[in-house]
Symmetry: none
Subunit: 505 residues, 2 copies
């Protein structure tokens, strides 16, 4: 690198590191609000969060960022940069152009609306009152339509939204992937529904003391290699993981007294997210590449630990004895196999976040299709409940009795997060496809799990995925790891094999 380029690069890096610092502070303030900040300080804290977010945003759309990224995009300069450096420039410039394209006054109006709409949504959900939320959601959709025009359209309008969460994927590709997935999952779900071999799940609803749940959760996190010197476990209403920096990746869980599996699987899920962020390569640290490759890839890492490992028979062969020791009164008379079947029980439920591994994907497909209808076909917000219920009837065979159990259940739309939902199912598919390779490259995979020797799995994931952070795109990662592009058959194969065995189909 020429001396001048090097000097400019150092200044650019410093500016990016400063933006990162704002997000570390914002992350900690947010974590604190959700884990125990005193009630009376919340209003001023929110103002502080808003101020810091605005400052970070100002830096991201600053003339400086514009000038740096323009300079580093010049062919004669670009050629002096490493692949990682070029990725940083491209990602930063893309974000700059996208953010810059919205008039700041419109963005501010939108931010105020979205913040307000979340409160309205909460009330609407509590009161099962879609009508009160409808005008807000309509305005949010109008804003998003306007933003899509600013951002520009390639392919369909909905593509523009999808691209924000899952670069490389298009509506055409996701349509194809989801329809292939659906065509295999719907008959599987029907066969399960018709099976007489239903697991008994009643024993899961006993009272499981919180202290023991916490001990067991900490034990599992240690087992999977979560580094407590680079993180901590706290409680919040909704579990989450937040990587403040690679040496401080925190997770939370929520203990439900009458549902022991909730905290176990949320710990494994958030633990999976956290392992990813604790193990970014040294060379990425402090740069914008020290984050997940995409929402979908991030989700694949949480799903892999939660479902493919955590809900496997081998896992409970090793850990069920420990679980029984933590809850002797509740589980002494429950066999491991019965526990394994209970935690994999499939049922058509109304609520996405309570859904099983299989039907979860159908919940996502409903949302994906509705979002597409809104942005590509002009579906009106007032018609959402009707469309929602019809899709649930079609894919899951059930009609939500209320909007609270239907179209009002998710927070995402109230915050303007259209295009996000697909990532959850993409995560499942990435995970199953990676699992297929993992099993080939680590043929003793199940024996390792059954022996509680999870570290070789963590090391494989670190080597193949974690360490790259955002230095590769999602499609580069999936092709580099598995040798082929995203293929939904791996998830369908995995689910068919698992549930054929479980339900004796």
């Amino acid at each position: 690198m020429e001396q001048l380029v090097k000097e400019e690069w150092d200044k650019f890096k410093e500016l990016l590191f400063k933006i990162r610092g704002y997000y570390e502070a914002i992350g900690l303030l947010g974590w604190d609000l959700r884990t125990g900040a005193p009630r009376k300080g919340v209003e001023m804290r929110s103002a502080t969060l808003g101020m810091l977010s605005a400052e970070a945003f100002k830096l991201q759309v600053s003339e400086e960022i514009g000038a740096f990224t323009e300079y580093f995009s010049r062919p004669e300069v670009m050629s002096q940069l490493s692949d990682n450096e070029n990725k940083i420039v491209n990602d930063t410039r893309k974000e700059y152009i996208r953010s810059k394209s919205i008039p700041s006054k419109r963005f501010e109006e939108y931010s105020v609306l979205a913040a307000h709409a979340q409160t309205i949504w909460e009330e609407a959900k509590d009161n099962n009152d879609f009508a009160s939320f409808e005008p807000y959601l309509t305005k949010i959709v109008e804003f998003k339509q306007e933003f899509i025009d600013y951002w520009g359209v390639e392919g369909s309008r909905y593509d523009t939204l999808l691209d924000m969460y899952e670069p490389d994927l298009t509506v055409a590709k996701v349509d194809d992937i989801f329809s292939r997935l659906r065509s295999r999952l719907v008959p599987l779900a029907e066969a399960i529904s018709a099976s007489p071999n239903k697991p008994d799940t009643e024993f899961l609803s006993q009272i499981f003391p919180k202290e023991q749940q916490e001990k067991f959760g900490l034990f599992l996190l240690e087992q999977m290699g979560y580094d407590f010197e680079a993180g901590r476990l706290d409680e919040s209403v909704h579990p989450f993981a937040t990587g403040l920096n690679p040496g401080d990746v925190r997770i939370t869980t929520n203990y439900l007294l009458d549902n022991v599996t909730s905290s176990i699987f949320s710990s494994l899920h958030e633990g999976g997210h956290a392992l990813y962020e604790q193990n970014f390569g040294e060379e990425l640290i402090g740069t914008p590449l020290a984050q997940g490759a995409s929402m979908g890839i991030h989700e694949s890492q949480s799903r892999l630990w939660e479902n493919m490992i955590g809900r496997s028979r081998a896992f409970w062969q090793r850990y069920y004895g420990d679980l029984q020791q933590h809850f002797p009164e509740q589980l002494a008379n429950v066999e491991m196999e019965d526990f394994y079947r209970a935690i994999n029980s499939v049922g058509n439920s109304f609520i996405r976040i309570e859904a099983d591994e299989l039907t979860y994907n159908l919940h996502i497909i409903v949302r994906y299709e509705i979002e597409k209808l809104i942005f590509n076909e002009g579906l009106e917000v007032k018609d959402l409940p009707k469309t929602w219920n019809a899709k649930y009837q079609e894919y899951l065979g059930i009609t939500p009795p209320t909007d609270a159990l239907g179209v009002l259940q998710d927070v995402h739309w109230s915050g303007g997060d259209f295009g996000y939902f697909a990532s959850y199912s993409l995560g499942n598919m990435y995970a199953a496809q990676m699992l297929n390779t993992l099993r080939k490259e680590l043929p003793e995979f199940e024996e390792l799990i059954a022996a509680g020797n999870l570290l070789p799995i963590k090391e494989w994931l670190t080597d193949k995925i974690y360490r790259y952070g955002q230095s590769l795109t999602p499609s580069q990662i999936i092709e580099q790891v598995t040798g082929e592009p995203l293929n939904p058959d791996y998830l369908a194969d995995y689910l068919e094999a698992k549930y054929t065995d479980l339900y004796k189909l």
Copy 2:
């Protein structure tokens, strides 16, 4: 106020509110570092703290602040401002001029160093390893010497540091006050030392389970009127209080298994600081006046609760039964009067924060004199352990056997807080002087305490002190409350009366 002045004032207020927001974030990041941030994230967190401090600092020294404070200082504008508004302008301008004098790059380097040094200090203290801390402390002192040059010297170099914590006071004044105090405390300490009526303190060194200590501490905080909806209690190595905003004033304590009084009195102490900050007047909130009048006044409020109330006979007449209930095994056979005498035992100890009310002031005088030697006489950091030990021998008749019990015991220097220690003794003096007035204006003072009716006391303090925040100077406050300037005889009188009774002198 003219329309134009009003508009400018609103802009000025908004800018000050933004600076306040940075300090709220900085406060939370600092709190987090000391209460449970994972070790591996500390280095990057320190960089983030440094960045935010630098940003806040940039705003404080911005041309905008310069222009605003110049504008509002013009006689024709100033006359349109209220007293509080004028105080804001004056304080902000003083801080602006002081800060402006330090090059921002130097300040940022210093902030990063100070954040890092606190972690190093903690380890050094744990390992009794002054040598590992020495290079950091040396650099901190070098920075402070450099800053003193930037700030300018009136009187001695150390005056410049003292003024940051206790405006109005000078080395000459403090020298005088401390010598008057010392001349009365030394004979008192000697008389106590010669008294045959020593309390039995052995029962305090039993094992007191942490969980019960925590319960009792929470109970006392509630009794004194600490608002848990505007704060929380956590653990840290060195107890502290931090007001992130007036609705979020957090305190910490440290539980020593073999010393129940440590957590009790640190809770009362930090609780006293917190009551002050939870009860600033509504009109001050969001402005720079929503803070303590000075370190000394702040400390007077913690000392008043910790010592004048918490170590009084009346207090334990009410609360000793509760304490016994929390620790029946340990205290069932200990009489209240014996407990009262034990917690007021006077002895020459190594650790400042464990010192009694009387000799505490001698611990402070040692630190005050050492700081004076560093900044006025060029004492080197490497010679601190030797000087420390010699002074302890001279004033308290003891030599610390280790640096952990000596020069490494306090956090202050690791954070660059030179000039701060005197405030602790000033706090004792302010508190005793205020107590004298309080007893006159609330003649049933002791009966209220003995009845556990502490809220009228909290209300008196709110009315006389808390609600004014920084809208008055320390000397205005002490004169407004007591009718005269700071006078060390009140503390000496109070201590003589208390200990003459206790030790039957």
